[in-house]
């Protein structure tokens, strides 16, 4: 059946879906895979900006599904990473311009050319969410260690689990501040898995990192930083590699000793 379609969603806005899509797709592309990202947030286009491709948009997702432009005209190839492509969202239309069936048809076409297809879902659980989830083989839910984000993640999990087809759901915990977790002032990755249920697998823990904002400023994802490393680890886990999650929230004995020596 060709490439895998992975939808990145969250329920709540502002938790880092687009940042995750940009950084994760760049990391997977760096592993030598042909990757395409679809910005499904029609009307609120942003993935192009984070990926540094905003100057090169000519046609968009709506043009594609309405057959006003062929795929080759819509796809934008990343200059720095030739394996990485983007299908941008339309900025002038709204979510009703695309149907779930059109997304399925499009992704089936993309599967023939790409090994991984990431769909960046809009916030919310309405039409745009249904469009983004319809073609998915797998779902990644991005959340933050904050009560509102966890609650919305649970809501999205509930909606997905109520569907007939049981999509594998994996969690990315974004914007973790390990020192706050250590002080007991932030929910830990274990706490979140505990609350959301053991069926939900954690696929990555991304620390809060100012380099992500800097990378966004420059439109150059996959920064050489702690968060960038976390995304590269997630990419390897998506590829089936067994990479232990370094939560950095419960320092082991070695780390504690290292700390004593000011390391």
């Amino acid at each position: 059946m060709g490439g895998r379609v992975i939808t990145i969603t969250s329920g709540k806005g502002g938790v880092g879906k687009t940042t995750t899509t940009a950084n994760l797709s760049a990391a997977v592309a760096n592993m030598g895979k042909r990757v395409v990202c679809i910005d499904a947030d029609i009307g609120l286009r942003n993935l192009d900006l984070i990926m540094g491709l905003e100057q090169r948009i000519r046609k968009d997702l709506v043009d594609l599904v309405e057959r006003n432009a062929p795929l080759e005209e819509v796809l934008i190839q990343h200059r720095l990473q030739p394996n990485l492509f983007l299908i941008p969202a339309s900025q002038s239309r709204d979510k009703s311009a695309v149907s779930p069936q059109q997304m399925i048809t499009l992704c089936n076409q993309l599967r023939e050319q790409f090994e991984m297809i990431f769909v960046d879902c809009p916030a919310g659980i309405e039409r745009g969410f249904r469009n983004a989830v319809a073609p998915a083989d797998e779902v990644i839910i991005v959340t933050n260690p904050e009560v509102s984000a966890v609650r919305d993640a649970d809501r999205v999990i509930g909606i997905l689990q109520a569907e007939k087809r049981k999509l594998p759901i994996r969690l990315v915990l974004n914007r973790v501040r390990p020192e706050m977790v250590r002080r007991g002032e932030m929910l830990s990755p274990d706490d979140i898995v505990d609350i959301l249920g053991k069926e939900i697998r954690m696929i990555g823990v991304v620390p809060e990192d100012e380099n992500i904002i800097i990378a966004g400023n420059r439109g150059a994802p996959n920064a050489d930083s702690k968060a960038g490393q976390a995304y590269r680890d997630i990419a390897r886990r998506l590829n089936g590699e067994d990479v232990p999650i370094n939560m950095d929230n419960k320092p082991g004995l070695f780390n504690r000793i290292a700390k004593l020596f000011g390391n």
Partner: protein, 103 residues
């Protein structure tokens, strides 16, 4: 936090595994997710709890203050799990009427 943990936490706040506001966040989330998942308001949940207690109390003595309703995820299904602590059955009204004793 139990006494032993509290004792050690005086020496090492870092090792204190019981979070402060994180623990509160966890408890509040458990409550709100329970209510979200079964789509019942807190009032409706209290009503359901009282009715469950009332039905069970017809047959056995329960300790109503300690009845706990929880939502558990088992595989992909949600389970409503009730912990119902029982009190001495001899104190139940059915033993006091004398009627049941005859039948």
């Amino acid at each position: 936090m139990n006494g032993v943990n509290r004792f050690f936490s005086i020496f090492s706040r870092q090792r204190d595994q019981k979070p402060i506001s994180a623990q509160e966040a966890k408890e509040r989330l458990r409550g709100v997710l329970f209510s979200d998942r079964i789509a019942l308001s807190p009032d409706q949940m209290a009503e359901m709890r009282n009715e469950i207690i009332a039905v069970i109390s017809k047959y056995v003595n329960v300790d109503p203050d300690k009845v706990a309703l929880n939502l558990e995820q088992r595989s992909l299904d949600n389970w409503l799990v009730a912990d119902v602590p029982l009190l001495r059955i001899e104190d139940h009204p059915r033993f006091n009427t004398g009627e049941e004793a005859d039948s």
